[in-house]
Symmetry: C2
Subunit: 204 residues, 2 copies
């Protein structure tokens, strides 16, 4: 078996173990057993538990970002782009629950190098969403411009809402990716749509 | 000094250390030094690092939930209740950055007992927000009812958005609690408001 293929098997096994147990409780014995190889071979190929976890974070982050970007066609209207991006996000997190658990829960816990990895991924997603919201603001007619700062805040809100709904959808509620995307799109788009058209909420 | 007062001092010191370093990297030496007591006294009063961290989580969770609930007057209109609750949330998290860091970041990382503590707190907040959204849906006129499941999803989205914005506001952007609350209220209420009135987004 080629080395790349063998490494992929080890990382698949590692992801399942990290996803269910977290970083600290995961054992290299269990990962090796699940991958069907000896523990020394795992160390030879992937060096250490830390490097293996880092490799899992990077692979899963790249896959998630690729899925979201790949799901969005920049020729479509911006609300449709948001819908497509959200659908791609919830579909990917539903199909890769261990990857999502590693990125969203376990990586934050392992300490600094892992936190930095997922922070970079999250910033890339926030930047992508920020650009979508900014395009929507530009496209809206007769609108008082949304400040750059407010666009940044809206993107943070949208990403946080999506993270929370991914946990909800992957939990016990039996919520489909499409349902999660529709819930968030209804919540987000109508609100953003009102904002784009200068309709703001204010305390009575 | 009475024991309760001494314990409070130790927990204040512990919170600062846990908040800046996380659970694992925090040292009982540093906590004792910051509290101005001997390390054996910290162990005598609060038993172990695990118990001390648990006590911090519980105190901060109770304070946060108390601030949000206390900020909301059930006699007011439901959009105003949401605004007041969000303002209370962002004000509290801005004034207690270590508490928020412990609840939102560090507790998830420490392992099972800590995760269970913050999960319980989050579920209480989600339940509170769910009841607000359900009231809003009931109060809206001429509306196709929102399904209970959708109300639950909207509450998850709102809580996730608030968590994300609290991190943004506590970061480098210099965002005030009022600004964070206004951003989220505009995002959320206009969206919810449209939903309550039967205006849904759908893909073209």
């Amino acid at each position: 078996m080629p080395r790349a293929e063998r490494e992929r098997q080890m990382m698949d096994a590692a992801l399942r173990v990290f996803g269910s147990r977290g970083y600290r409780a995961a054992s290299m014995d269990e990962i090796a057993e699940l991958a069907g190889v000896s523990k020394p071979l795992v160390y030879l190929y992937l060096n250490s538990k830390e490097d293996l976890f880092t490799a899992c974070i990077r692979r899963e982050a790249a896959a998630l970002i690729g899925a979201v970007r790949g799901g969005v066609d920049s020729a479509r209207p911006v609300d449709r782009r948001l819908w497509d991006g959200l659908t791609a996000f919830f579909t990917h997190t539903a199909e890769h629950p261990d990857g999502w658990a590693v990125l969203h829960n376990h990586a934050r816990s392992g300490g600094e190098p892992f936190v930095a990895e997922v922070t970079a991924m999250r910033e890339e997603i926030v930047a992508f969403v920020t650009s979508l919201v900014a395009v929507a603001a530009r496209e809206a007619h007769g609108t008082p411009d949304l400040a750059e700062r407010e666009v940044a805040g809206l993107a943070q809100a949208l990403v946080g809402a999506a993270e929370s709904l991914a946990g909800w959808a992957n939990g016990d509620a039996g919520v489909s990716a499409c349902e999660a995307a529709a819930t968030l799109m209804n919540f987000a788009w109508s609100g953003l749509g009102d904002l784009m058209n200068g309709r703001r909420w204010s305390p009575r």
